[in-house]
């Protein structure tokens, strides 16, 4: 660390109380509201009981909230310095899970740490956003036009995507790749490169598929459809649609969703929790939840727009994009719009480690907000 850098940090250090004041409490309130929706849903999923889901989920949210606020107070420049370290740790964890992870629904995704099961791919997405932001932080518009400059970060995206594909978890791999792409675009990648990429993928996909062996194609089918039980996927979607439809405009009433409570709806506490809400609260309720999710996504983008350093902007963009992808894939899935499975609705679906990881991401987002006006060493020199 240069002397200049140290001086800048000292000069711009906030007091603890001032930092707390800077936290966007409205945003925190939105997150709490979403977690509250999750509490209501899990209470209903358990047939009107705090046990076994809702109570535990709230404890985890409290833990997640503490993690988030703690991270929010860490100087974003400190986080920036650890970006690539986090990235390295993420890759190592992914490699570990491939070697010794637990197999759930035919895919190795989980690893045991501190008595909880973690999906390293969750952490990887956050670390990837940080690393890409660190790489592009000082890149000028002209620099972004240089193809050679884009190759290392592109590899940094492809490595974890490949590892996640190998688990195999196509859904998360696609989300990770899309989030990476969003950061590239925010950093100023030229549009024609995006067009080229899209064209290449569109061309390569059918060719690659054509050259696959039958068993490999079957594996791709299981990517999309982890439960190949003939009564599984198709049955779930049909039952989910019936539940959504029977909710109607105003819903069947809280704790009165027939499909959910008669156990026609599978995995109603995890992947299909949105369906349960929509059945009980109707279109009004489901649009309200969708609106809340849209506010959180938009809020994240606004934090990026208000930030005065490129690192913070890109981090905010990446974290919001990640949250958006989760929401979109999950809700599209329960309506049968896309065939991917196994993606939860963040902060609402039952699940401990995902909750903590999502809150960790929001912590970094909040740190961007709190430190939106700090200056990074070297910024002035370059500008």
């Amino acid at each position: 660390m240069s002397l200049l850098e140290r001086r800048l940090i000292r000069e711009t250090r906030f007091e603890f109380a001032a930092k707390l004041w800077q936290i966007s409490w409205i945003y925190v309130l939105l997150l709490c509201a979403l977690a509250g929706v999750g509490y209501l849903a899990l209470y209903s999923a358990a047939g009107g009981s705090v046990q076994p889901y809702a109570g535990r989920q709230m404890m985890r949210f409290a833990l997640g909230l503490a993690v988030m606020l703690g991270i929010a107070l860490i100087d974003i420049r400190v986080i920036a310095r650890f970006s690539w370290l986090a990235y390295g740790a993420g890759v190592v964890l992914l490699a570990l899970v491939l070697r010794m992870g637990h197999v759930g629904k035919g895919a190795e995704r989980w690893i045991n740490i501190a008595g909880m099961q973690w999906q390293p791919s969750e952490f990887m997405k956050l670390a990837l956003v940080l690393a890409l932001a660190a790489w592009f932080h000082k890149a000028s518009w002209e620099r972004m036009g240089n193809v050679l400059f884009l190759i290392p970060p592109a590899l940094a995206v492809l490595l974890p995507v490949a590892l996640i594909l190998k688990e195999p978890n196509l859904g998360t791999a696609v989300i990770t790749g899309t989030v990476g792409l969003a950061v590239f675009l925010g950093a100023g990648m030229r549009w024609w490169k995006l067009a080229l990429l899209v064209a290449l993928v569109a061309l390569a996909a059918p060719i690659a598929y054509h050259h696959l062996h039958d068993y490999q194609r079957a594996r791709i089918t299981t990517f999309f459809n982890p439960e190949s039980d003939p009564l599984g996927a198709g049955y779930n979607i049909i039952q989910s649609k019936i539940a959504l439809g029977s909710g109607g405009l105003w819903g069947q009433g809280y704790l009165h969703g027939t499909q959910g409570h008669l156990n026609f709806l599978p995995e109603k506490q995890t992947d299909f929790i949105f369906t349960m809400l929509a059945e009980e609260f109707g279109l009004v309720g489901s649009l309200a939840v969708l609106g809340l999710l849209a506010l959180i996504i938009t809020g994240g983008m606004l934090i990026g727009l208000r930030c005065r350093h490129q690192y913070g902007r890109l981090v905010a963009l990446g974290i919001s994009a990640n949250f958006f992808m989760y929401v979109f894939v999950n809700i599209a899935m329960v309506m049968g719009v896309i065939p991917v499975g196994g993606v939860p609705l963040p902060l609402v679906s039952y699940g401990g480690s995902a909750m903590v990881m999502v809150m960790m991401g929001f912590g970094v987002l909040m740190s961007v907000h709190v430190h939106r006006d700090v200056e990074f060493a070297g910024d002035r020199d370059e500008g």
Binding site: A187, L231, L244, G245, S246, G282, L317
Partner: protein
Amino acid sequence: MRRESKRSGVFTRRALLIGGTQLAALGFLASKLYQVQVIDGARYATLARNNSVSARLIAPPRGRLLDRFATVVAGNRQNWRALLVAEQTGDITATLDRFAALVSLSEHDRARILREVRQHRRFIPVTIKEFLDWDEMARIEVNAPDLPGIMVDVGTSREYPFGELLAHVVGYVAPPNQKDIADDAILALPGMRVGRAGVERFREVELRGRAGAVQLEVNAVGRVIRELDRQEGTPGEEITLTLDAETQRQVMGHLGQESASSVVLDVQTGEVLAMATNPSFDPSLFNSGISQAQWLQWVSDKRAPLINKAIAGLYSPGSTFKMVVALAGLQAHAITETDRINCPGYLDFGNRRYHCWKAGGHGMLDLHGGLQNSCDVFFYEVARRTGIDAIAAMAHRFGLGTKLDIDMVGVRDGLVPTRAWREAQGKAWNIGDTIVAGIGQGYTQITPLSLAAMVARVATGRAITPHLTRAIGGVVQPGGKAEDWPDMGLPERSMQAVRQGMWAVVNDPHGTAPLAKLALPGVQMAGKTGSVQVRNVSRAQRDNGYKSDKMPWELRPHALFVAYAPFDAPRYALSLVVEHGNAGADTAAPIARDIMTDLLTRDPLAHRAAPQQMASRT
């Protein structure tokens, strides 16, 4: 700062664009929600209220079994049946009562239905009654409003066009039991069957296939309104067997009323052309359940109709074992092809006398004469000189008393004893045991199938193993070509000596089986007889003019015959065991001759096997 503002300007535009895209995507989801929840909502709400989407699994059709000329030997035919879906009927007992008023339903069936309803998921149909006739179907359909949850549908049921003719080798299917269902849930589907014997059992995995599923929208009384979604299952594989159904029919015909078994092989490839066991049974009886009386009749029959004697019947090989003993002796240099041994009618060893079947003896004989006359003393002596372990080793090389790698279930290995085997029982091996082993008596036990493998190996000198599968799902299985089977590496000179001996048995005027001589011009058969006592004949009985054909049936000796033809260019090998048929030369040899004549004159194009009824695949 100009560059920084350029950069932040780009970011702002792009962030707005990305954010806008995201909001548009969420808007799209909102519109879909509006469609699903409000526009289509009424319909889905009805579905939910009537609890009326019914998921049904589609049972995959079981793979067919074909003979080598693609004649169906196990097919599927339509089976109309009544099913009950528990989730669509209120009071199951009341519904069953009303059903029983229309179509007879036994207490046994009723208990089974209630049990299955408890065990399965509510939307899985349970079979109430199968094999409905037209009247019964009509009565059920007319009364459908009174029978909520009951539906009539068509499934498939296994049919065996050749019935008894192929029952043992093709096997049969039966309803699955609880353990089967625990292993594979698709067996819980109505109409599913599990192979219980023969090829049906051995190829169960390939034949079963995978289930499909159909999502149906049904109204309040369970009538299907329309199909919402359908995933086709995978039918079981079609399997082509090496069998020739027409040859099998001919062989069964030649076995007549005897309790007998015969295996016919393509001598070059080991393909089983026929595997006949008499008496037989109707394999389709197992499909719907066997009556107690039928079962008792089968079990109490001394001729054991349910046992596939070709692979599970154990017999002493008797004189058919002598080729192996000769080859063991030649290999061990205990004799040469030209060594001569004197037969005075008996061999004294220790304090026992071992008799030849010919009271006066054969005089001086070489190997050729020994086989031609089936002289017991000659082979007592060869066995004594060779030793049991060398004989057993040679027998194992020829597939006797050892595990044959055959694609069948229930194959018994048989036994050719060794010193080690006897000592493992805590007994000492006696030279006397070796001497009786020389004529295929004593502890030695073989199956007709292994005997056929032995003949094929003698005829070709190659390690041919019998097998039944030609192709699975159109994929040809290995073993169908002569090159697939390695040479056994025995000296051609020894093999020729043994083959010449077998030729003389049938074709020499002084051979033991002149009845087996083929009436076909220019084609000759090589063979060997065997007769094995099933009880000891004492010295006193022998002196008092013991006649086996005066004995009760179950005490008469078994008659055996092994053969291959044509002698100079072998194509077919066969083994034949006639239980309690007395002498091999008298009973078995003519049957073997007739089977071989049919084989050699068979024109597969002219005589396609015609089953009683053609199979339909539905």
